[in-house]
C-alpha cells in the first residue's frame, strides 16, 4: 500500500482518525487494542480532559504507556478513582454515564454487529475466541458506539458467526424493537476509510476515504458489497503533532513492556 510514500501507515491513519472522533467532554469506555491507542492519542492531543474508563474499574485514567491489559497497574495509579467491577457495570455503565463505548471486533457485519466469541458453531467451534467480556452491555448501555478495526475479508463479513454484541441487528429499527434505547454504532473507523450508518437502513456506508485509498481497495478488503456516500470526503492526513504523539506513545509502550522481559533475562 502507498502508506510509506505518504509518511504514515494505514494503521496510524486509522488510530488518528479514530482519535479525532472523540471530544474533550466525552466519557469513554475503552476497549483494549486499537480503541485504547486512539483514546489516548485523543487525550494527548485535542481532548486533554476526556474521561477514559477501562472495565477494570479505573475511571478518568491517564496512562503514560498503553496498557497491555485492561487492568494494568498504570491505569489505577493515574485514575481519578478506581471502583469495584460490579460498581463499574451497575452504576457507571448501566446507570447511563458513558457517552462513547469504543470497541474493536474480530468479526463485524454491515450493521455493526460484533462477534468476538467463536468462529463456527458455538457448541462445536472451529476457533474459540475469548468472548465478550464487557462488550454485550457496553454495546447497549453506552449512548453511542464507535468501532475500529483493520479491514479484511475475514473480519468484515456478510454474516457473523455469533452475536457477541448487538449493533443494529438486521438494520432499521431493530434496536428499538428489542427495547434498546441507545444509539448503537454510529461510527466505524478502519485503516482505509470512515464509515457511518445510513440514517434509515443503518447499514454502514463509507463517508470518507483515507488519503491515497481507492474505492476498489475498500471493496477488496470487505466481505459485503460496500455502499459509498454520494459526497465522499478525503480524510485529512495525520498532522505532525498527531503522528508524533502516536509514535511517542507506542515507543514508550514498547520500552515499558519489553522492560520486564529484559530484567528477567538479566
Amino acid at each position: 500500500m502507498s502508506g510509506n510514500a505518504l509518511g504514515f501507515t494505514p494503521n496510524e491513519m486509522m488510530t488518528i482518525a479514530a482519535s479525532r472522533a472523540l471530544k474533550n467532554d466525552d466519557v469513554c469506555f475503552v476497549g483494549i487494542g486499537a480503541p485504547s491507542a486512539a483514546c489516548n492519542v485523543a487525550r494527548l492531543t485535542h481532548a486533554p480532559d476526556i474521561t477514559l474508563i477501562y472495565e477494570s474499574g479505573t475511571i478518568g485514567t491517564a496512562p503514560q504507556v498503553l496498557p497491555l491489559s485492561i487492568g494494568d497497574g498504570e491505569l489505577s495509579e493515574t485514575a481519578v478513582t478506581t471502583v469495584a467491577v460490579p460498581e463499574m457495570f451497575r452504576y457507571w455503565l448501566q446507570g447511563g454515564r458513558i457517552s462513547i463505548g469504543f470497541l474493536g471486533a474480530a468479526q463485524l457485519d454491515k450493521f455493526g454487529n460484533i462477534n468476538t466469541t467463536v468462529i463456527g458453531d458455538y457448541f462445536h467451534p472451529k476457533t474459540r475466541l475469548p468472548g465478550g467480556g464487557g462488550a454485550p452491555e457496553i454495546a447497549t448501555s453506552s449512548k453511542e458506539i464507535y468501532i475500529t478495526m483493520a479491514q479484511s475479508k475475514r473480519g468484515m463479513v456478510e454474516k457473523i458467526d455469533f452475536f457477541t454484541s448487538f449493533g443494529h441487528g438486521e438494520g432499521g429499527d431493530h434496536r428499538k424493537r428489542l427495547g434498546i434505547d441507545t444509539a448503537g454504532p454510529t461510527l466505524l473507523i478502519t485503516d482505509l476509510a470512515i464509515w457511518k450508518p445510513d440514517p434509515v437502513t443503518k447499514e454502514f456506508t463509507v463517508v470518507s476515504l483515507h488519503p491515497g485509498v481507492t474505492r476498489q481497495q475498500v471493496q477488496d478488503t470487505c466481505g459485503w458489497v460496500v455502499k459509498f456516500a454520494e459526497a465522499l470526503d478525503e480524510t485529512p492526513a495525520p498532522s505532525e503533532l498527531e503522528l508524533n504523539t502516536l509514535r511517542d506513545l507506542q515507543a514508550r509502550t514498547k520500552a515499558a513492556h519489553e522492560g520486564t522481559g529484559k530484567a528477567k533475562a538479566a
Binding site: 487492568g71 451497575r90 454485550p136 457477541t164
Partner: protein
C-alpha cells in the same frame, strides 16, 4: 475463625474434589500461588468460576482438573487466546468441559447477588446478545413497577473462593487495594474463603477508613506468600510481568511444551518459590 496456615494446608483443608471454586482477581492480584498449590494436590472434577479465566485456569484445564467453567472472558489479557482452554473446548483434550458463559456485567451482578444472599441477580443486559440463546441460565424478569423486561441470572455461591491481597494484620483482617475487581463479592459469596497475602503487619491503625478491608471473620484461612500473584501484580509491591503473559502464548500452544513447563514450574516447585519470581519487578519505593 480465621487461621494462619501454610498454603499447602490451607488448600488441603478447604478444597475438595467436585467443589465449585473461584480463584478471583481482575488482572490484578491473581491468586496464582493458590492455584498452583491446587494443581500440585491434583484435585479433580472442579467447577471453575471466574470472570477472566487467564493463565491459571488455562493451566488447571490443561491438567484435566475442570469439569466445568463459568466465565465471561476466556482470554490471555492483552495477548490473545487461551490455548489449553481452547484445546479442551474445541477438541475435548485432555477432557471435554462444560461451559457456562456470561458477560462481565452478568458475572459481576451474579457475584454481588451471591454476596447479598439473593437467589438471582437482576440487571439491564444481554439485549440482542447471542449468549442469551446458548446459556439456559440467562433468563428474564419483568419489573413489577415499570414493566421493563430485565435480565436475570442465578447468583454465584462458590464452595470456596481464593484471592490474593496485599496484607493482613495479626488478627487476620485483610486489605485489598488498587484494582479491587470482584474480590470482596467473591469472598462474601463463598462458603469458605482462603486469602494469600504479600505480608502481615501488626495492625491497620493507620489506614484510611474507607479502604476495602475484609474483616477476619469473613475469611477461613490466610497464607503468607510473597509474590503469590506472579505473573499478575500486587499494587504497591511489584509490577505485572507482561513478558510472562506473552511467553505463555507459546508455552500453551503445544501439549508437550505445556506439560514440560508445568512439571518444571508448578509440580516441582512450592509456594516458597514465588518471592524470587517478582524480585526484578519490585519498584524502588
Amino acid at each position: 475463625m480465621v487461621k494462619f496456615l501454610p498454603l499447602k494446608k490451607a488448600v488441603a483443608e478447604n478444597l475438595n474434589n467436585g467443589d465449585s471454586v473461584a480463584f478471583e482477581g481482575f488482572t490484578h492480584l491473581i491468586p496464582t500461588a493458590a492455584a498452583h498449590e491446587a494443581i500440585r494436590q491434583g484435585f479433580r472434577d472442579l467447577t471453575l468460576i471466574r470472570m477472566t479465566p487467564d493463565l491459571i485456569y488455562d493451566q488447571m484445564i490443561g491438567m484435566g482438573m475442570a469439569k466445568k467453567i463459568i466465565f465471561s472472558y476466556v482470554g490471555n489479557p492483552g495477548v490473545g487466546l487461551l490455548r489449553r482452554a481452547r484445546d479442551s473446548i474445541e477438541n475435548g483434550f485432555p477432557r471435554s468441559i462444560e461451559i457456562e458463559e456470561h458477560s462481565h456485567a452478568g458475572m459481576a451482578n451474579a457475584y454481588e447477588a451471591g454476596a447479598a444472599g439473593l437467589p438471582c441477580a437482576v440487571f439491564r443486559g444481554y439485549r440482542g446478545a447471542g449468549l442469551a440463546d446458548v446459556n439456559p441460565n440467562i433468563k428474564s424478569v419483568t419489573c413489577p413497577f415499570t414493566g421493563e423486561v430485565l435480565a436475570a441470572v442465578p447468583s454465584i455461591r462458590p464452595d470456596v473462593t481464593f484471592i490474593h491481597a496485599q496484607k493482613a494484620d495479626r488478627k487476620g483482617n485483610v486489605l485489598v487495594e488498587g484494582i479491587i475487581g470482584i474480590q470482596k463479592e467473591a469472598v462474601l459469596a463463598a462458603r469458605r474463603a482462603v486469602v494469600t497475602v504479600e505480608e502481615v503487619v501488626d495492625n491497620f491503625d493507620d489506614l484510611h477508613p474507607n479502604l476495602t478491608v475484609l474483616p477476619r471473620w469473613t475469611i477461613t484461612a490466610i497464607s503468607v506468600v510473597p509474590g503469590g500473584s506472579h505473573p499478575s501484580y500486587a499494587h504497591g509491591y511489584y509490577a505485572r510481568d507482561n513478558a510472562a503473559y506473552l511467553e505463555w502464548d507459546e508455552i500453551a500452544a503445544d501439549r508437550g511444551k505445556f506439560q514440560a513447563w508445568m512439571q518444571a514450574n508448578v509440580i516441582g516447585k512450592s509456594a516458597g518459590d514465588f518471592a524470587a519470581r517478582v524480585e526484578h519487578l519490585r519498584k524502588a519505593a
